[in-house]
């Protein structure tokens, strides 16, 4: 009998909770940490929606998509936040996402035309180095120099994949030669961004593949102006981070409301100094101080989302061939 009462009590409690609608957002780890954008966005959105916003953090963008595929249509998630442009095509192929309904005036270097995914921040990949270094101005100069670089593996990390696409977008069929020439500059290839950046800070390499906005972290959070990024004449490859609404969501209106909030001034002004990326819609107050000192690439490179999977495969083979020799 005791158990029955207990069960009834538990069910009652769940029912009481269910009166406040709950929105579940799957995102990557660093978004929800106390130093990430998660806490501020949760507070801001809950204040206006009268709902319970529940962030679930897991790994990185690729892990998010793998998790979603594992869960399939049964997923509890209403929103997935943190995929990037290289994953968009694969994500759409799952048929798990629904078109979003919102209007926003994006400040992206390219025009955004996808009706499913909503961009919320973006950045340029770049090689970060110490200010005492005279940096090369393109990949060819880098390959000809004896500078040492650390990069990430395109098979396990999104920046690694970004670099692969960068070289491919800039050099097309000549990409294999660029990689062959770069081979003696590459100290090593790491599993993820953290390892590579850690090795660079330890002095294992002169430059590391990261973002043009990385020096902003050192400048703003550490008051350290000894890091900068190299401008490459070929242009810089972009990473745009996006969020999407799941077709199986039981809170579709709330999900739309959240996506709209994500591109609002309140959420966008949180992103630069928590995610260390450029906001997709520049806040009215402008970018925080420190961001204006970041390098400005002359040209933005981006492979159209639907061409990424095929190109990725080709570029990965070329990369493996050039570096396995």
């Amino acid at each position: 009998m005791k158990y029955l009462t207990l069960a009834a009590g538990l069910m009652g409690a769940t029912a009481a909770l269910a009166e406040t609608p709950e929105l579940t957002v799957y995102t990557y780890d660093s978004f929800v940490t106390e130093w990430g954008p998660g806490p501020a966005i949760e507070k801001g959105f809950e204040a206006e929606c009268g709902c319970d916003l529940n962030f679930v953090g897991m790994g990185d963008g690729a892990a998010l998509l793998a998790r979603l595929k594992l869960e399939g249509a049964r997923s509890d998630a209403d929103i997935v936040l943190g995929l990037d442009t290289s994953l968009v095509a694969a994500a759409k192929e799952t048929d798990l996402f629904a078109p979003s309904d919102l209007d926003a005036d994006y400040d992206l270097p390219i025009t955004w035309e996808d009706d499913v995914f909503v961009p919320y921040d973006w950045g340029y990949f770049a090689f970060v180095h110490g200010t005492d270094l005279t940096a090369p101005t393109d990949f060819k100069a880098l390959a000809a120099s004896d500078l040492k670089i650390v990069i990430q593996d395109p098979r396990s990390s999104t920046p690694g994949l970004g670099l692969l696409m960068w070289v491919k977008a800039a050099y097309g069929d000549d990409a294999p030669e660029i990689w062959a020439d770069l081979a003696d500059n590459i100290v090593t290839v790491t599993k993820g961004w953290s390892e590579a950046y850690g090795l660079f800070l330890e002095g294992e390499a002169d430059m590391v593949l990261s973002y043009t906005t990385s020096p902003a972290y050192h400048l703003i959070a550490e008051e350290d102006d000894s890091k900068t990024a190299a401008v490459f004449d070929e242009g810089h490859y972009m990473q745009i981070e996006v969020a999407g609404k799941l077709a199986g969501s039981d809170q579709p209106e709330l999900a739309d409301q959240f996506l709209q909030y994500l591109v609002s001034d309140a959420a966008q002004s949180v992103l630069p100094t928590t995610n260390w990326m450029y906001p997709a819609v520049t806040p009215k107050a402008g970018l925080p101080e420190g961001f204006d000192g970041m390098i400005q690439p002359g040209k933005a490179l981006l492979v159209p989302n639907d061409e990424v999977p095929a190109l990725r495969e080709e570029a990965l083979d070329e990369w493996l061939n050039a570096l396995s020799r």
Binding site: D29, A66, D76, D153, Y197, L320, L323
Partner: protein, 518 residues
């Protein structure tokens, strides 16, 4: 010698073995079942298999060969700080990979100590990146472990034998052949197989220090298949290759172990009459000093780097530390339930091939086990709720082979020496465990519990797949700090991790060595 000399029940051991096998196979089957029918393995996959096997063989051989003089020296000498050094031997093993790699780089890296000294002498810089770097790091991780396990072997030689050797004025060489070599023949194959399997599943070490995609291991290919290609079939196939390689090595090595006993003793404190000469002393001092430097310099770097960050750790890191301690405790409990009956079962068998089952847990890719169980649990329950129990279970599985390696030799010896007596007395079942086995195995139990606990504290393993914010463990939180540019705080968290893991290890090990001279 087909008849059994002791009444130790087979049944619980068999159940434990079946449970271990089922936990791993269920995950494998779940992944296969969820996979679309796909192609086989490509040329790149086989290249990864070859590289993986080669680096694992080299790492295992070098670790074991170098461990022999170090363990011998530690067994022969008594000096101030010996106990501390032996405890620290557990440290490299439990460090998260990236922490240990950064520690190694302060010594061997481009701007590390060696290259700075070399630069002063006008030598060209030496690069650590390549196969040699991978092997170096694996030796750093495993040499201390091998040393500890071999040291146990030395301690299993009854002190009366050394007394006799002293009376006979045996030369160090003669003593080595008569006493130490037979012991080594029993211990070395198992230790070698264990290290081979550890290195088999290496991923981040091999990639980071391997210098590029030449150093692709099977585990990286599995990771890629799961995460980027979402090709479950290929991931499962690769996991099978990994299991077969590990299983083959384990069975072969364990089969090599001769079934001979060293005989019993009266557990008198050890005194050595051999090895008093200057040459012997010189050899031992060199071995200990070199090993200590190799071990302590990178560890010292980890500590120094962490000191700045450790006082400014965010609150979540402390919560994560509590989670890690909880996981460690649970892992030790799970392991005790699994390992003791299993060790009992293996020890009563003439050949040790059955121990290969224990190695499965280590050889199976944690990503595969995690994904498999995720697929199984997800339809029924929210996997995040089970993250800590599942992590404890997987950690226990991974620690199982180490623990068997620690327990089985001593248990086998105990049963050989006391088997006839227990039979005469009609001792069986729980009484046998309580009165004979557990007391005689106490040092090994302490060491095993300490190692399991410490490993659990430091393991990243499957938690990353299951955990949400509240249930993160310390290594996961450390990686999150690194991912957010907070290298200083991450270094602090790494130091906390090192201290915690060593404390767990020290407490358990100390309990085991209570009242013991060794």
């Amino acid at each position: 010698m087909a008849e059994r000399a002791v009444a130790l029940s087979d049944r619980t051991g068999l159940i434990a073995a079946a449970l271990v096998a089922a936990l791993i196979l269920a995950a494998l089957v779940a992944v296969f079942a969820a996979a679309d029918v796909g192609g086989g393995l490509g040329a790149a996959d086989w290249a990864a298999v070859r590289f993986t096997a080669m680096q694992a063989v080299l790492s295992a051989l070098i670790s074991v060969l170098l461990a022999v003089p170090v363990a011998r020296a530690l067994a022969r000498r008594r000096f101030a700080g010996r106990g501390a050094l032996i405890t620290l031997l557990g440290a490299p093993f439990i460090l998260p990979v990236i922490v240990a790699v950064l520690g190694l780089l302060t010594v061997f890296g481009r701007s590390g100590m060696l290259n700075q000294i070399g630069g002063q002498l006008g030598l060209p810089p030496v690069s650590i990146y390549g196969l040699h770097g991978v092997v170096l790091a694996h030796v750093f991780f495993n040499l201390p472990l091998a040393t500890r396990l071999l040291l146990q072997g030395w301690q299993s030689i009854p002190s009366e034998r050394f007394r006799l050797a002293g009376q006979l004025k045996m030369t160090p060489r003669a003593l080595f052949l008569a006493l130490e070599w037979p012991m080594l023949r029993q211990v070395l194959p198992g230790v070698g197989a264990l290290i081979f399997v550890i290195c088999l599943t290496s991923f981040a070490v091999a990639l980071t220090l391997g210098g590029g995609p030449r150093a692709t291991t099977i585990e990286l290919a599995i990771y890629q298949a799961f995460r980027f290609d979402f090709d479950l079939g290929r991931a499962a196939l690769l996991s099978v290759v990994q299991l077969v390689l590990a299983g083959g090595a384990a069975v072969a090595a364990l089969w090599l172990i001769p079934a001979i006993g060293l005989g019993g003793g009266l557990d008198r404190p050890l005194r050595r009459w051999d090895a008093r000469g200057g040459v012997q002393r010189g050899i031992d001092v060199t071995a200990i000093v070199l090993a200590a430097l190799f071990l302590l310099l990178p560890l010292g770097a980890v500590v120094l780097r962490g000191l700045r960050g450790v006082f400014h750790l965010p609150l979540t890191v402390w919560q994560a530390a509590m989670n890690s301690i909880l996981v460690a405790g649970l892992s030790v409990l799970v392991l005790a339930v699994l390992a003791l009956p299993l060790a009992g079962w293996i020890a009563t068998r003439r050949r040790g091939g059955a121990e290969a089952i224990g190695l499965m847990g280590l050889a199976a890719s944690p990503l595969m086990i995690g994904t498999g169980w995720f697929i199984l649990i997800n339809p029924v329950l929210d996997p995040a709720r089970l993250s800590l129990p599942v992590t404890s279970l997987v950690n226990a599985l991974m620690a199982l082979p180490f623990v068997l390696r620690i327990l089985v030799p001593r248990l086998r010896e105990t049963l050989q020496d006391y088997g006839p007596l227990t039979q005469t007395l009609g001792m069986r079942g729980w009484a046998l465990w309580r009165l004979l086995v557990l007391p005689r195995l106490r040092p090994q139990l302490g060491f095993a519990a300490g190692l399991t606990g410490a490993l659990s504290v430091g393991d990243l393993g499957v938690i990353a797949l299951f955990a949400d914010q509240e249930r993160a463990t310390l290594p996961l939180q450390m990686y999150r700090l690194m991912g957010a540019y907070r290298m200083e705080a991450a270094a602090g968290a790494a130091l906390l991790l090192l201290v915690l893991a060593l404390a767990v290890f020290f407490i358990c090990d100390k309990w085991g060595r209570w009242h013991a001279d060794a």
